[in-house]
Amino acid sequence: MTHGLSHLPFCFFSGSSPPICRPCEVRTPASGRGSRVELAAVMDEAGSSASAGSAPRGGRPARSGVFYKFTQQDLPAWKPAMTPGYVIAIFLIIGIIFVPVGLICLQASNRVAEIVHRYDIDCVPDAYRSNKQAYIKDSSISKKCIQKVKVQYHMKAPIYVYYELDNFYQNHRRYIKSRSDKQLRHGLQYTDSSCSPIERSNGLPVVPCGLIAWSLFNDTYDFTRGSMGLMVDRKNISWRSDREHKYGKDVYPFNFQNGSLIGGGKLDPDIPLSNQEDLIVWMRAAALPQFRKLYGVIEEDIQADETITMHITNNYNTYSFGGKKSLVLTTSTWLGGKNDFLGYAYLITGSSSIFLCILFALIHVKIPR
């Protein structure tokens, strides 16, 4: 940004007309009494305390004090002037802070072991590969599917299990609005038109209503390690505030998935919504069309080179819109899951500011202003 600065050097040396010093022409007081602070106010830039002494005349503000300075726009102020020294110093400081932070983030991200396994194609029998929709819509075909992955790194508990969907617009306006928070909390009497088009079915209200609930994700996963089963803890996968405040403890699913068109998963009508954690997780809409949602937590370590068998029921139709499905196993650190971006961003920022700092310093040494 240009500051007035860029003009000033010209002015300082324009000697053609000697500038008249303004304080000199301050009007002479009509009477000699009373110290005039007005002069001080003009000259006094640093904002040193102008002494009081003149009495306020006829309603005019006294010529001293904070209020006077305020009205005269002469408050003490910090006027940062972007001298080369400052700029270099600022860049240097930023660089010095950012590079280590970046390194720490990167290191945290590197400690995370993550397995992403896409299964939406592999789980379709070869016969249906060309017409996956027919496969997924045909309820008579078994959707069971077994996949194996080899773990390369030691994974320390807790290991989080996610499903990842792609090209699924949970953030679509129609979709995201189609829910009733009141109903989720207080029960079916609060069913309202906000849930359209999944509001009523067969003349009765649907609980939980709306498109989001209706399209509940319903693939299931089981894991075995060798012959041993791996326990997946499906509790506490949702936000606690959701469970406690947004889903009613005495609201039970009702008339759900009874319509002509069945969307996603079904719910056990005997479990209150506040305990239907799958639903709660699903109901929290993702921001982007590619997203992960927590499925459960494995509370056991997995050693490197172990092979994990995944027993998948591939119920959910992503084939009609060409979405991918993946299963994700990952550990976490204080920074969350695996994401190098943050670390790199810091590193790049930090190092480029150090680079700029050096560049400016060189320029400054060569061509000092």
Binding site: R22, N171, E244
Partner: protein, 1002 residues
């Protein structure tokens, strides 16, 4: 809007007040009734009493004086405070009583209403005779009756037909150039808003249509088979159109509606600061600066041309008798403004100047300063003149001053005399004479009484001398002198002719034996005029009886002749007697400049502002003042455009209007073209600068459509322009002409005659001085003294311009940033119209989290302190050249906004991508991303503000960092209220990374 409404209402109140003023109107049978102004009709005979305004244009019928004269103050018309004499026709001047109007029948024929104040033609049929009417009989509305008990007049024009109203221009609603440009930016943004909304709608339409193909559901989770019109794939174009409307609502952040409100607020606060400035507060009159409209604050920083009135604006309209040369000896030691200015320019602080200054102050403390008199010379003051060698000449000199004039004395209860003069010069003369002991005491139709103080210091001892007034040979601009013929009191009883006039005419009329001091006097006169003083030469002559008889006869016949060449005959008669004069000396009167005017003009010139002076004065006076206020300098080439060529004067005598106009125009054209040839083209640099001086008559032609651009061409090349003898309408026209060149004009004036100019100019500055309030009422900003203009423009103008332009740019920037993040998010939500942010975030963006810092910037920011602004006037050019609000700058800011938005968006989405962002394994949903992005935007936008601010007072710190804090507080409070958001509050901790990253990356 509201503000303007209030102003209009006030104006209306004034109008009502005016309409309901009372005047006496003849209602038949010689009875006069009090009637409201608004009921006055053409043809009414009305009676106006002393010190009242005329309610309409009147033909003067008679006054309380037997010869039908009356005195009129025309301050509201031309800004001149002196009194003008109007005279009724002789045939009507005997209508002295109310009853005389019982059976009065007159037919007045006159011209159509027009705007020309100084011309009038008409006839009156009375008692079977036709009499010509001239401006002498015309009393204009808004002028005031003075020194006359009452007058009778016939109404000829009322209301909007009056000459004053014809000169008035509609009060315009002014908007600053920046605001006008802002409209274009809004259009631009509106277009881009439409553009991106359209883009989104097209994509939305395509995708929506694809959702349902041959009964196959693509994105089945959206239930495209069971849809409302907004998402219906079967009616995709309609859905697309509906989406367009949604999108327009969603992206409306591109159009900062709050900008208008914020600007209004900021401007009002700026105006408060301008009003509060103690350096623009006049202690003498207890008047601070008053910004009456705050619309134009930033325009003050862009002024290219100042159009200034002279009288009352540059000068105090107060003549000071400052020096004189009597019998070849120069008296008077005071230093004039011009001398001071010249000394200052040379950089030599005159030793005696400082001394004189100190001396002056001492004097002020000793004796009260006498208005109009500033002669300091112990040799002649306090009666000391008696000891001078030429004491007889000195005595005659001051007697002449006391007698040869047309002033009227007013004696108050304490026996102090004050004067009503036709011109302030004359007042200065009589005052000077009074101060030296020759007090003009009383005037009757036939005599003048002078009260002479005994030079020997006995104050109580007066000597009354009664001079018999024989003739007054009036001043005219062609004669350039005036004389009176008086008969001395006994025992001398001589008949004397006292004459005063311009040096050019006077020296040729001296008698061979009256030239004793010619050399010295001439030298003094030259010195005086070099120091910007107005000089007059005084001379007298003793007439013998016979010669006078001859003259008196000739003069009388000339006067009553009534023929067309009456004036000429009178002139000839006067000419014959005003010869063989004996030189007494010369006077030098300073047209007192207002305090600090030359310095101020100097500074403004340094800042690159052109200054034009538009005055009703004579050309000589105007030029003098030009020198005095350093508008004209020695070494400047003066280009004078005037219509004084002999052939035109000859034509005027013939009276053929068309040919006069034609010839005049030709002549003006020629002169302008000559002038253009003289002025080098802009490329060539020349050490010489040019000044253009044009008189009112020429101006009439120069302002005609086919000439005016040539005239403008010439005028803008000249450093200073002076227009003399210009009417109020012309002032406004000149202003309009200058405005054509797309430069910001500022008009400054103090009288009602400047109203048109003030309203026409981009900014009208009224001087709230001694003259009426009309100018102030019509102005946008009222200041007490001309010199405050310097601070108003160079400091406040500069600041306000900077503040407003940066503020507007910033406002667009911050809204573009916000809008683009919303748009980018849309692209990832298949343009369905789901905003990334919570509704409350959206609506509070411009209210809480980003508004206060920008307002603080608009109100408080200073790039350099006021002291530096004044010290380096060159800084002002920043505004004149509109550096800060050029398209490049504006688009740069917007580009910055777009880049910021893209950075923020991609940074946030990548950082929060699909992996867990917390140790507990939860992933970030839409609400988390929205809050994070919003946080980033708030940080970035406020940090950008911190970078733009040059002047951090505690207020800026509180606002900028406070806004960010308030966002966090809001997030937490809002989260606590609504369980939906209770958890999203604490993820922000990590996200502080965002802005910092930006900070450097940018």
């Amino acid at each position: 809007m509201l503000k303007e409404g209030v102003e209009d209402w006030r104006r209306k109140q004034q109008d009502i007040e005016l309409n309901n003023r009372i005047v006496k109107v003849h209602r038949g049978n010689g009875s006069f009734e009090e009637t409201k102004w608004k009921y006055i009709k053409i043809g009414d005979v009305i009676k106006v009493e002393k010190d009242n305004f005329f309610p309409a244009d009147l033909i003067l019928l008679s006054s309380n004086y037997p010869d039908g004269i009356c005195y009129v103050e025309t301050m509201n018309l031309d800004g001149e405070t002196n009194l003008k004499i109007k005279q009724a026709l002789e045939v009507t001047s005997d209508l002295q009583e109310d009853g005389d109007f019982t059976n009065l029948r007159q037919i007045i024929k006159c011209e159509d209403p027009n705007a020309n104040l100084y011309s009038f033609v008409g006839t009156m049929d009375y008692k079977g005779m036709r009499h010509p009417l001239s401006p002498q009989q015309l009393l204009l509305r808004d002028s005031k009756l003075r020194n006359t008990d009452y007058i009778y007049g016939a109404v000829i024009f009322t209301g909007h037909d009056t000459k004053v109203m014809q000169n008035a221009t509609e009060p315009p609603s002014k908007r600053s150039k920046i605001e006008k440009k802002m409209d274009y930016i809004i259009y631009l943004l509106l277009c881009s808003l439409l553009g991106i909304a359209l883009l989104g709608s097209v994509f939305f339409g395509i995708w929506t249509k694809a959702d349902l193909r041959n009964g196959e559901l693509k994105r089945w989770y959206l239930r495209p088979d069971d849809s409302t019109v907004f998402y219906d794939p079967k009616r995709a174009p309609l859905a697309s159109f509906c989406h367009l409307l949604t999108a327009l609502m969603l992206y409306n952040y591109f159009i900062p509606i709050s900008l208008y409100i914020s600007i209004e607020m900021v401007k009002i606060l700026q105006a408060v600061f301008i009003n509060q400035d103690i350096d623009m507060y006049d202690e003498e009159s207890d008047k601070p600066t008053h910004a009456r409209t705050s619309n134009l604050n930033e325009e003050l920083g862009q002024v290219d041309t100042i159009l200034s009135d002279k009288t009352g604006t540059l000068t105090c309209n107060m003549m000071e008798f400052i020096k004189c040369s009597i019998a070849g000896t120069a008296y008077g030691q005071s230093v004039t403004e011009v001398e001071k200015a010249m000394a200052l320019r040379k950089g030599v602080p005159l030793g005696d100047e400082i001394e004189a200054g100190g001396h002056k102050e001492k004097q002020i403390e000793e004796s009260p300063h006498v208005k109009g008199f500033n002669l300091k010379d112990p040799r002649i003051m306090d009666g000391n003149w008696i000891h001078e060698p030429n004491k007889d000449v000195i005595r005659d000199f001051f007697r002449l001053l006391a007698i040869c004039h047309t002033c009227i004395p007013e004696v108050d209860e304490t026996d102090k005399v004050s004067y009503e003069a036709e011109s302030p010069d004359e007042a200065a003369f009589v005052i000077a004479a009074r101060e030296l002991g020759f007090e003009f005491y009383k005037r009757t139709q036939t005599s003048i009484v002078i009260r002479e103080r005994d030079p020997n210091q006995n104050v109580a001892d007066y000597q009354y001398r009664k001079y018999e007034l024989l003739n007054v040979l009036e001043f005219s601009s062609s004669r350039r002198r005036m004389s009176v013929i008086v008969k001395e009191p006994e025992p001398e009883g001589r008949i004397l002719l006292f004459s005063k006039g311009a040096d050019s005419v006077m020296f040729t009329r001296l008698a061979p034996d009256g030239r004793k001091f010619e050399e010295e006097t001439k030298r003094h006169i030259n010195e005086y005029s070099d120091s910007g003083l107005r000089t007059l030469v005084l001379a007298y002559r003793v007439l013998d009886e016979k010669e006078y008889e001859n003259f008196a006869e000739k003069f009388r016949t000339a006067k009553i002749s009534g023929s067309a060449d009456r004036d000429e005959q009178i002139g000839e008669a006067a000419d014959s007697i005003e010869r063989d004069l004996i030189l007494l000396g010369a006077t030098a009167v300073e047209d007192k400049l207002q305090k600090g005017v030359p310095e101020c003009i100097d500074k403004l010139a340094q800042a690159g502002i052109k200054i034009w002076v538009l005055t009703g004065d004579k050309m000589e006076t105007a030029i003098n003042i030009g020198f005095a206020c350093s508008l004209l300098r020695q070494g400047m080439t003066q280009i004078i455009i005037a219509l004084e060529a002999p052939d035109i004067i000859a034509l005027e005598k013939n009276g053929d209007k068309d040919s006069i106009a034609k010839a005049s125009k030709q002549s003006v054209m020629g002169q302008i073209e000559d002038g253009i040839k003289q002025v080098p083209t802009l490329g060539q640099s020349s050490t010489e600068s040019f000044a253009l001086i044009i008189d009112g008559k020429s101006l009439t032609y120069a302002l005609e459509d086919d000439v005016k651009f040539k005239f403008l061409d010439l005028a803008v090349k000249c450093a200073s322009v002076i227009c003399c003898r210009s009417s109020p309408k012309q002032k406004a026209l000149v202003t309009r002409l200058v405005k054509h060149s797309d430069k910001v004009t500022l008009a400054i004036g103090d009288g009602a005659n400047d109203v048109g100019m003030l309203q026409e100019a981009d900014i009208g500055v009224g001087i709230s001085g001694v003259e009426g309030m009309q100018a102030v009422m019509a102005s946008d900003i009222a200041i007490a003294q001309f010199r405050f203009l310097e601070r108003l423009l160079l400091v406040h103008g500069h600041w306000c311009y900077r503040r407003i332009s940066v503020m507007i740019c910033y406002f667009f920037y911050k809204n573009v940033t916000f809008g683009v993040t919303i748009f980018l998010y849309e692209a990832f939500a298949s343009f369905s119209g789901k905003p990334a942010y919570n509704d409350w975030f959206l609506s509070l963006y411009n209210v809480f989290f980003t508004s206060l810092p920008v307002i603080a910037l608009g109100v408080f920011d200073q790039d350099v302190s006021s002291r530096l602004c004044l010290q380096y006037p060159e800084l002002y050019q920043e505004g004149v050249q509109n550096v800060l609000f050029s398209w490049r700058r504006i688009l740069g800011w917007m580009f910055n906004g777009v880049v910021n938005a893209i950075l923020i968006f991609f940074f946030c989405t990548t950082a929060l991508k699909d992996q867990a962002f917390r140790q507990d394994g939860q992933v970030a949903g839409l609400d988390a991303l929205g809050a994070t992005m919003y946080t980033c935007v708030v940080w970035v936008v406020n940090c950008q503000m911190a970078l733009s601010v040059n002047y951090f007072t505690i207020i800026q710190h509180i606002f900028i960092w406070g806004s960010i804090t308030v966002w966090y507080i809001f997030l937490m409070v809002y989260g606590a209220i609504d369980p939906k958001y209770s958890k999203t509050a604490y993820m922000v901790f990590i996200e502080q990374l965002g802005p910092q990253r930006y900070h450097i990356g940018w």
